[in-house]
Amino acid sequence: MRFETLVEDAFGLLRGDSDARERFTASLGLLEQRQPDTVLRTDLGDIAVFERWHALVTEALNEHPGYEMQRVVPEERLVPVLLAAVYAGSLEPGGADRYLSILNNQLCGVSKLDTVWNAALGALGGDGQGLTYFRSVLEQVGTECGPHDGPLIEPKSNPCPIPWPPPRDFDPFKIPPRELKQILCMLEARIEVGRKPSLVLPYNITAITPQAACVGDTIVITGSGFGSTLQKVSFPVLGGGRAAVNPKTWTNSRIEVDVPVGATCGNLELLIPSGTVKTCDGYLDLIQPGSGAAHFDGSAPEIRSFTANGKTGILRVDPNATVTLAWDTCPASNTTVGLEIRTETSILYSQPAVPTTGTFLVTVPNYNVVTRLDCKLTASNPCTVGQPPATATIALAVAKTPNLKVEGMEITQGIQTFWRQGVAANSLSTIANKDTIVRVYVSADMGGFNNDEVHSVTGTLKIGSLKLHPINGITPTDPSGVYPFITARKVSNIDRSQTNHTLNFRIPAYYAHGTQSLLADIIAPLGDGTYQIVSQPTSWTWETKTAVPIRFIRITDLRPPPVGTGTQPTENQARYTLQRAFELLPSPATDIAPAWYATHDTTRDFTNSDLFGLLQDLWGVHAQPDPATGQPDPANWIGLTVPLNRGLADGVACVSPMYQQSQGLGYERIRAAHELSHNMGACHPFMPDCQARGFKDDPLDDVPFDPYWNQTLAGTVYDYMSYSGSTLQPWISPANWNYLRSVIP
């Protein structure tokens, strides 16, 4: 039971709403069931008893001048409920005291919180004494709790300081002031309502004629006890509110009133005031309760409810399932209700006249693809002539529940073994402090329904407490192009070489170290606003490798024109080239810097022979001492040129053209990595001596994933040290990845 509902019904009751009165008293009855048996005294006599107590309590409260204590339950919430309890109870013998007793019992437990809250406010005031008092209050409350902050196994008897009604020996001078304030409010409500003689004679409606009428039509309300003073008539209106209108005529037994705009079916209320009462320093106007046949059947048609299996909106159902459509419309007396069930292209069922309140069983066709069925209810009556009927629609999303499964998680820094017969998945090490890509393979099985495809599947990947979202769709040229959804499909239809057959996540280099727990949560929509979620945990350990130190020399092309361009790479272009190169190498790209010999001008021709001369120039400088240390630089050097040329490497230095994003995927993407790898001992796999070391010049068996371009390298891919297929995008092979791992400390 929600307190908000109780307050709402309390106000409805005080304003004459008989439905609210029934709900309110039923709620109090339920609360009564939850409390220990109490014997309610019925010998209280008349209001004079309460008036005497009221005088006593007022006197006792005056003993605490200036007493102000805020209540944890604000009076704005409490008082209307107390007043409504009295008001509802005034219509039945002993009812007012019964309902007040129920509320009093429910609230007495809360009263301890008043002390806690006020002490908390004192503690928050920054006063040391306040904190000490708060501590002592909690100590006291603690002694009144059972184990683990639960209730005591044997609750203390009579937990309420003041039972309602007060006992004969009630001495308000022994009661704490906060309790006095509450009982004063209760007494005021009890006395004020008890003084209202009109309550014993509520009006009674015997007929409303006609039962239903259009806006502007006159209806006649007959009955008794209406009084002779013209008052307002309250109609229920669409949307849940009420409209109070002035009637045309009013006598003690007959009222003529025009139906207002928006009037709908429900009970009419006659807003006959029964007075204003004061309780707890505030005022509320009471409306006389009514009885009898107050039901008005409505004006324009209203679809009060339309559900499929008890739900509204969109409902997912299996093919061949049976669905119960249920509806309730009004006015029941003159409304024609139609039901139609259709797909986008065809009508499955159409019935122009069904009962105003009813049900219909739909057997969903055995569709083999996702299909939407729209169930449309229409309601019309004489009030809607020339106007569109009232309509309500429910969509049935016909689909099988997918059997989603995470088939595996490929953890790669560009190259990884995965989904290969006889080869362990994820057998290649990944290196700490490098971006790491996780590809989550998700399959769906629906027994062939919808070709076993589930669209708009997304998910997250948690690494420790960090939650990552898919990077599908993001590229360096379209960084905002994320489309974090894939189609889950039958496992046999998942193509590893397709970037978007998997949900892809990037673990930033900062988090890629040590051993981490990973958790993939995959979310598939079921078509009705609900989702199926499957989770797959795993654990991953990164291998620590040193950052290979690389120093770059920016070479100025001073060859005579027109061959020479006079150009020199910028420092940013040099860094970009090397960062891309490290994406192929098992080492973090964190030790890249200009060489102490930062630039080199050359007039050498960039042909094979003269390129070697350029390389010799760099060797010569590299052998010289670094002015800062007095020793030759132990780092690898790379000379970077702007114009396209081949690369060359040997020993401690190499030459390579720079790489730019505009060059996209292709051989230039890997050229600097190729030359740097030579410096670390990598060889051309087509060379006999290289093959003697076990390297093969064959296409890769695994599908690389370029972590910069966020995409797989589909088709035939050769090792980046090979010259085979040099017009294609090459990538580092598992063999060279492991070789470099072995030489990088």
């Binding site: 007075g275 004061k278 509320l284």
Partner: protein
């Protein structure tokens, strides 16, 4: 300022009704309206009433309930008290006790209503839980000033 109007009304009944509002024209809720006879002989029987939210009030006396008053026909007048019991208005004119309807509308100035309107007059329907969340938050904040969660003995008796 008051305005008075007489009309035939119901047979055999004295019906005195009206509305009390402030200078802004807004009705004043919860004022006590007393009907008193000029000789104070029937005061006990003429129960006071409270104004409704729109400032309206209605006294209805049926002849069969008050035959002696309809016989004696005392002159009566209105007196208005605020929530604290202070008299804030007494009508200048008296009314003859006779069947019919009297309408009396009063405008009270802000000075007269100052004390009455010092605190809110009307209980409004509020939404939300029984105990507003911010009050729990205040208790939690105060508890955090003691041993914070996670520290030794934070969950034991203090």
């Amino acid at each position: 300022m008051s305005q008075r109007k007489e009309s035939p009304g119901k047979r055999g009944a004295l019906d005195i009704r009206g509305r009390i509002h402030s200078e802004t024209g807004k009705g004043v809720h919860g004022l006590t309206v007393e009907l008193l006879d000029t000789k104070f002989e029937y005061v006990e029987r003429l129960n006071p009433i409270l104004t409704a939210a729109d400032g309206s009030f209605t006294f209805t006396y049926m002849q069969e309930e008050f035959p002696d008053l309809f016989g004696a026909r005392p002159r009566v007048f209105l007196r208005v008290r605020d929530r604290w019991g202070g008299i804030i208005h007494t009508s200048d004119d008296s009314i003859a006790w006779q069947p019919g309807q009297q309408t009396i509308n009063l405008t009270l100035d802000s000075e007269a209503l100052l004390a009455h309107l010092r605190i809110p007059t009307t209980w409004e329907a509020l939404t939300g839980p029984l105990i507003p969340p911010e009050r729990w938050a205040q208790i939690d904040a105060a508890i955090s000033l003691l041993a914070p969660a996670g520290e030794p003995k934070h969950d034991s008796f203090l």
